[in-house]
């Protein structure tokens, strides 16, 4: 018998879209909650339109993007027009039998629907309502719009990343969509513990942008305690802890250390890089030994101040050595000698070449109705008694209307058919997909 899931019996009404919100609900679903995603085909989730992730040979459409698939696994989906009275009524009935409502609209939207927290708790007194607006629902700029890159810019995270004297490199993806999603799940689960202990629900007003500020603590305190200028020479220090020639101050990535950099490896392709970090003199001496104790690695480099002073020269020599081997060979040699090193891994490397992720079942195979055999990302933790699991592919749009409305809410089949005729469950202006016709038979 399979082990039970931790969130069994929890039902989540998921109004989220794009990345941060759906990613939050995705993890609740992966932990065993029953997540019901509420959508409307005329306001498609933008991930259903992601142009980069329709596999070749698959007919493009809202059910055919790989990015939506992974972000919305372990959910069921219904299509309801909440702008109609009947649609809104259905959603309210769904909320009345649910534990969590989660959304990442702009801060005014749910209230406009008549689904702000004060209304939600009339429908379900112990409801947990997690809102995930960019600036939150409280504060003078709550109505400002953000997407991941703007949120991480505003949070201070972007400023921490890049080479000195160059534009900010920032983060090459919406890190605060991933992280905002984490905090959406964190908020729901934390509030769930409060409900378990007290019987009470609440509104958790999350700001996606502010999640990033709480990740800049040492830089924040360096400003408020020391008055350190945030814009300064040699900051950010690229992959190093201190840029050559710059003042020796801590730049918020752990201890000051050298070597601490990315180095090219053989055969010199786009992602043929590895990083090495020596956090102590002993680790440095291990590296010197591993490199065959070359003549250049003399006593000038014995101490951290010496290595910082001669950092450019040291890094050039190290890279001559790293270029003689592949990134995985380098990683293994260094690790065998107790040196902190790792290959720079692309997406392809993680999926195909990483023996650790393979051993840990990171990519779980499961068939998807449109994409065929697919892989879904697993939870990054193993729970001994109630494991997370990949239980189902994402919903096709409107796929579960009938089972949710008839089995869960007790609508008659005739009510459901009417909903399709009068534009409550499907736009009257749009053809129905074959799976919808089939479900209605």
């Amino acid at each position: 018998m399979p082990l039970p899931t931790p969130l069994q019996g929890i039902r989540v009404v998921d109004f989220t879209w794009v990345r941060a919100g759906p990613w939050a609900a995705r993890w609740l679903g992966t932990l065993g909650a029953e997540v019901i995603k509420v959508e409307w085909p005329l306001n498609l989730d933008t991930l259903r339109q992601n142009r980069f992730t329709v596999p070749p040979g698959v007919e493009p459409g809202p059910n055919s993007t790989g990015q939506f698939a992974d972000t919305n696994a372990n959910k069921r989906g219904i299509s309801v027009n909440t702008r109609t009275d009947e649609g809104l009524e259905l959603v309210k009935r769904l909320i009345s039998v649910s534990d969590v409502v989660i959304e990442n609209f702009s801060s005014r939207i749910m209230q406009r629907w008549g689904l702000g927290y004060d209304q939600l708790r009339k429908i379900r007194p112990d409801i947990i309502y997690v809102s995930m607006a960019g600036f939150g629902h409280t504060g003078r700029h709550h109505w400002y719009g953000t997407m991941g890159p703007a949120a991480q810019a505003l949070s201070g995270l972007t400023h921490l990343s890049g080479l000195p004297g160059a534009p900010p490199a920032g983060w090459g993806w919406s890190y605060l969509d991933d992280t905002g999603g984490m905090y959406g799940a964190i908020s729901a689960l934390t509030a769930l513990r409060h409900r378990s202990a007290t019987g009470k629900g609440q509104h958790v007003d999350l700001s996606q942008m502010i999640t990033g500020i709480t990740l800049t603590g040492p830089a924040f305190l360096d400003k408020t305690v020391n008055g350190r200028k945030a814009r300064r020479e040699g900051f950010p220090p690229g992959n190093r802890t201190v840029w050559p020639g710059a003042e020796v101050v801590n730049n918020y990535r752990g201890p000051i250390a050298a070597p601490h950099n990315a180095y090219r490896t053989d055969p010199g392709g786009y992602n043929d890089w590895a990083v090495i970090a020596c956090l102590s003199d002993d680790e440095w001496h291990n590296l010197v030994k591993l490199m065959g104790s070359p003549a250049w690695a003399d006593s000038r480099f014995d101490t951290i101040d010496g290595r910082l002073e001669h950092q450019e020269e040291m890094d050039e020599h190290i890279e001559k050595w790293t270029k003689t081997m592949g990134k995985y060979e380098l990683t293994e040699k260094c690790q065998t000698a107790g040196i902190r090193a790792m290959a720079v891994q692309s997406s392809q490397d993680r999926v195909d070449n990483d023996p650790q992720l393979r051993h840990r079942d990171m990519y779980v195979p499961m068939d998807h109705p449109m994409l065929g055999p697919w892989k879904f990302q697993n939870a990054p933790f193993k729970m001994s008694k109630s494991p997370a699991r990949i239980a189902s592919p994402p919903p096709l749009i409107g796929q579960h209307n009938r089972e949710v409305l008839e089995d869960l809410l007790g609508e008659t089949h005739e009510d459901v058919l009417n909903g399709y005729e009068n534009g409550v469950l499907w736009p009257t202006t749009m053809d129905r997909y074959p799976y919808i016709e089939e479900a209605l038979r």
């Binding site: 929890i10 992601n50 980069f52 992730t53 993007t65 972000t71 209230q111 927290y117 939150g136 003078r140 709550h142 109505w143 719009g145 997407m147 890159p149 703007a150 949120a151 810019a153 505003l154 400023h159 990343s161 890049g162 080479l163 920032g170 090459g172 890190y175 992280t179 984490m182 964190i186 509030a191 513990r193 409060h194 629900g201 958790v204 500020i213 800049t216 305690v225 945030a230 814009r231 220090p237 992959n239 801590n250 730049n251 752990g254 000051i256 890089w273 990083v275 970090a277 902190r340 790792m342 692309s346 997406s347 392809q348 023996p355 650790q356 933790f381 193993k382 729970m383 001994s384 008694k385």
Partner: protein, 438 residues
Amino acid sequence: MTTPTNGNRPDGVDIGGARPADLNLPGALDGLRVLEICDEKGQFCGKLMADNGADLIKIEPPGGETCRSFGPFMDDVPHRERSLSFWHYNTSKRGITLNLETPQGQEIFKRLAATADIVLESRKPGYLESLGLGYETLSADNPSLIICSLTPYGQTGPWRDYVSSDITQMAGGGQMASSGYDDIDVPNPPPIAPGGGNSWHIGAHYAYIGIMAALYYRFLSGEGQYIDASIHEACALTTEGAIAIYLSTGEVVQRHTGRHAAPDMSPAIQFPTGDGGWLNTTRSGTNLTPARLKLLAEWFDQSGMADDLTDERYQDPAVIAEENDHIVQVMKNFFMNSTLMDSFHGGQQRDFPWGAIRSMDEIVGDDHLIDREFFKEVEHPELGRSFTYPGPAALFNGSPWRISRRAPLIGEHNSEILQGELGLTNSQMLLYAEGGVI
């Protein structure tokens, strides 16, 4: 343009907010006891639990945890009680010192574990078991105990004993393969590991989620369990679309300056401002319909910077598309004659979802954050001073997330916990201190 007041859009719609009724209400994790044996890898997960109300006891080796030596330090004077990094990551915790490699230390730890709901640890795989302090032993006395090990690569697999640091985790996890520069900005650019120690944050977020899920399962079943969390796997999950793109098309993303890594080239979205800042307009954040272009033109025109954009011919999508390069140039000129924060607020007030690339110089003191009571004054009684800390990302209106006290000094609560709770005598405390147990 009027500044909207708290809780209202400029159009007057009041949308409330979620301020807690009373900041002194207990946090959501009130009544839970957590033992933490963590360095930089797990301490943020502990902070999240402690700031949310758990009674968290941080167990450090005698002399203090290694990450007390991470700068920056207060007034740039290195000292294990002055690490601002340690201060930030250990708020709301109590602290004791205990040498787990001594029999007496192990005995004390077992007695504490019998009182705990959660143990969070980030030592090398197998270390606690080797001391007789593994899950099997501790759960025998306390079956509802949840233990979470948060380690670089997890407890099993070919890399489980690999050593790591923040940058090596970001290499293996894929953060670096997605972050960096276009050649035009930096010739032959390396992949860049984003700063701030975020691999530890990423691991901590998932460990926290696992622990909370285990708590709910315990609520249902009464049973505790063991959680084996991997920072490498957490990081590998945190590159948004890169994996989905590869699985879908076999394409590997290329790095671009300050914007999404993607299989293709894309327009630049970061623009310098006159005061030396940078504005991020996001890839789809401009979306210039005729109506939106008109908003921009009228705004720019107020300072005589609209060039010809007020011309009626721009009220045609075809002309906007054709003149894109020119329009971008006019925008650039405007930003270079404006300031970072004026460009940002001016754009947002016209519904352009832009972001200023703020540093702490702009974040500390920000009005919106003041409205959310984000800035938290934390007392350091031993210094007779208080300092401003970053507060919660989310306002829980029924169980506030808040910093309850500064990080513990080394062994600050030895007497309170070991004597006050476990009943150790004065002579035991003396012997244990001299014997290197505490």
